[in-house]
Amino acid sequence: MPAAVYGLNGRELADGRILVNIGPQHPSTHGVLQVIVELEGETVISAEPELGYLHRCFEKICEGWSYPQIIPLTDRLDYISAIFNEWVYCRAVESLMGLEIPERAEYLRVIMAELNRIGSHLIAVGTFGMDLGATTPFTWVFRVREDLLNIFELVTGARQMYNYLRIGGVKQDIPEEFPTLIEQFFAVLEEFLVNYETLLVKNPIFVARSKMVGVLTAEVGLAYAATGPFLRASGPRLDLRVSEPYSVYDRFKFEVPTGTNGDCYDRTVVRLAEMRESMKIIRQALAQMPAGEIRAKTPKVLKVPAGEVYTAVESPRGEVGVYLVSDGGTSPYRLKWRSPSFVNLSTLPELVKGTKLADFIAILGSIDIILGEVDR
């Protein structure tokens, strides 16, 4: 298919339509996604995503690796929100083993995950600004994100691939000065959010480019099983942290922001609001966190009892799930990764039908996909 499309690129089809190939090397595809777009003038008639440029054989590799070895590998799937991948994988293994997690470890997981959510949404809103032609938000988010990465580096030792969770707990405790650093970071983040809203969300150009662009109705979103802020911007209040509370999420008070129109504008606003909610959760978690162990006792050679389980957590992109089948050995018999980016991206052909080509880039950016997770 691609080879034939390269040949057809830019050529007129029979009825005056033009076939345009976008990607895999394109500044606005957020990775190595290829989309073959059929245009009539400026209007998109159809769009067909072509995946697989980052397929890394993750599921097959897992079948040969031991359970603890797989944790760092999951980091590389959704590489902007690595903690969530580790979390959902560890939860799957723990639930098959029937492992009790120390309470402090659960709080640490929540805190690091919510920090990671902030980091992920920062990139989402920053690159979305870039997709609309505004470079300033991009430089802003990377300035703020570096402050966040300092905290991550202090706790986990890494900037991006944290490898922080362990089966039964977490790697290490937070340092004493952690709450102070968090408050310092939150002050910077608050300022950023206010500035971003002033510069972009209230900006007439931004509004014109994103309001009622790429509208996802709730029906279409549910039919495609889209999840995360992408779906919530259309109305459904579907958030696993609330509707299926896992870990200690039932102990926190927070809102689930939703939108009404399901357009690019609402998605951005929902993501900005979610950052504020994450701050609330982290503050409550730090106040409630009990002292104690951070890791349950696990055997040196980890064997998981035979059985199967599906677990899911709410990642910044939606429901990330693991379907784990064990035959009682030291490595999974089958591990299926349900990635929200893959599912959310499958709505793209519906979303862009009839829009202008320039809006196509904005719509793609507003879905917020990570190709590492789409292709696995």
């Binding site: 298919m1 995946l51 697989g52 397929h55 054989c57 599921e59 097959k60 549910l222 039919a223 495609y224 099983a225 459904p236 579907l238 696993l240 509707s243 299926e244 599906y310 899911a312 429901e319 799930g321 379907y323 089948v325 018999y333 089958r334 299926k336 349900r338 893959f342 599912v343 499958s346 292709d375 696995r376």
Partner: protein
Amino acid sequence: MSVLEQVRQNPVVDKSEYYACLEQLRNEGFDLLISLTAVDRGDSLEVVVHLARSTDLERVVVKAPVDSSEPAIPSLCSLWPAANWHERECYDLFGITFLGHPNLKRILLKEDFSGHPLRKNFTAARDGAAKGGE
């Protein structure tokens, strides 16, 4: 006994009842097709469908074994559009044919890739392919 209770007790359904069973679950409000995948059980392949209800996030699993020599099963694209890409991925990695699928072709691997890598008997013949793009 409703289909839901039946599936709760024993998620494995016969290939011939697969579509009808899922259609009934669809009518009972399971509007989210969370995931569709397969597991290689040695002598057969098992198609595994995870469903959820958006109203209360009730979840249910349905499994259908198919013969691994010529695996084929009805497509769910007419019930859930979400099945489209999941089934293509399943076809790509397991080689299961989904009957009635509108666009059944490889989604992740190259069109000319030989074999279905998530099958247990798959061995990668990489030496010739390693210099890709030749």
